[in-house]
Amino acid sequence: MTIYGVALLAFCFLVGKLIGNALGVSIGVNGDVGGVGFAMILLIFSNGYLKKKGWLAAPTENGILFWTSMYIPIVVAMSATQNVKAALSGGPVAIVVGVVVSVVGFLLVPLISKIGKNDYEHN
């Protein structure tokens, strides 16, 4: 049933968020540290396990894949609800810092990507 997939996703999501928030409290940051990441790893493992056991029926999987396909529309809605006005009215400081930091971030990608890339290609 489709709802099994949605429920599995919800389970992974909530457990991941719980771990993220517990980690946040334990290191003194009042918030979620990596909750989405933990949830994703949990989903990857439960997906692999259930597939191996043959317990992941197609409708179940579709319950999760539906949300994957909703991802881009959600990002569009998210963009429409950003504080764009503040970004531009924050003055030159916000714009200069925001633009330079992003561009330097882009340029660092090929540099850091070299790490571990060699054994990746060998495999």
């Binding site: 992974c12 993220g20 989405v36 809605a77 963009s79 503040a86 531009l88 971030g105 571990g116 890339k117």
Partner: protein
């Protein structure tokens, strides 16, 4: 007229589905028929959405009550829920191989964003350590900025600037990623993991990768999700003290 508004705002989430659907339909049509696929439809849809956000204030278009449902559809709950679901298409071996590079990219990302932000803020005339640290933190993400600012007791004006800095980063990442992706070799899971750790702004990484290649989204999102937490941990503590050492 009154009935229309009542029905639409009462069923805000459903209306948001319709609004986003129409935006995407139009964006994909323009991409295919007018721009001959030179700019991906997703990128156009996101730019249209950012323009629409101009009509509101803090919550973008969701400030207009008719479009209130957009805040729910585009809010962090559904965003994170759908981001987690993308893990279904992720290959764990690839994540493991990029693990070291991803971890390093996280620390490098937070470190360089903070200190580059500080240096630029000094160049633009800020002198006190608290304001500098807050703006530097805003250069990480728009959440790290205010968290650091309120922890250090920065003025509300500086906190507003730090939020604005973070939002500018989201927008530049969103629009810039598909444009620059090829020249920084952002076309495989390995570099997507690194990209997520370096830029760290979940919304920008998510939207930018979606517009570049949706297959890369889970890899970038995985590292980006640790970034804000790491920033909130390092900026108001170690980084602020390091900054104060330099100032004296």
């Amino acid at each position: 007229m009154e009935i229309i508004e009542k029905v639409f705002s009462k069923n805000g989430l459903v209306f948001a589905f319709l609004v986003v659907g129409v935006i995407m339909l139009g964006a994909y049509w323009v991409s295919k028929n007018i721009l001959r696929n030179k700019i991906p439809g997703v990128a156009i849809a996101i730019i249209v959405a950012l323009v629409l956000a101009f009509f509101g204030n803090k919550k973008g278009i969701a400030d207009i009550s008719l479009f209130g449902g957009m805040a729910l559809l585009g809010g962090s709950m559904l965003r994170d829920f759908s981001v987690v679901s993308t893990a279904m298409g992720a290959d764990f071996d690839k994540i493991k191989q990029a693990g070291l590079a991803g971890t390093i990219s996280l620390f490098v990302g937070v470190f360089f964003s903070f200190f580059l932000g500080v240096v630029l803020a000094v160049a633009l005339g800020y002198t006190d350590a608290v304001s500098l640290a807050t703006i530097g933190a805003g250069a990480c993400t728009y959440i790290v900025g205010p968290v650091t600012g309120s922890a250090l007791g920065a003025s509300s004006e500086v906190i507003a600037i730090s939020i604005a800095t973070g939002v500018v980063k989201v927008i530049v990442t969103t629009i810039g990623t598909p444009i620059i992706a090829k020249s920084i070799k952002l076309d495989n899971p390995h570099s997507a993991v690194v990209f997520g750790g370096l830029l760290g702004t979940t919304s920008g990484v998510a939207a930018g990768l979606a517009a570049t290649d949706p297959k890369l989204v889970p890899y970038g999102a995985l590292t980006a999700t640790f970034y804000t937490g790491l920033g909130c941990l390092l900026c108001p503590s170690i980084f602020y003290y390091a900054l104060k050492l330099f100032m004296v």
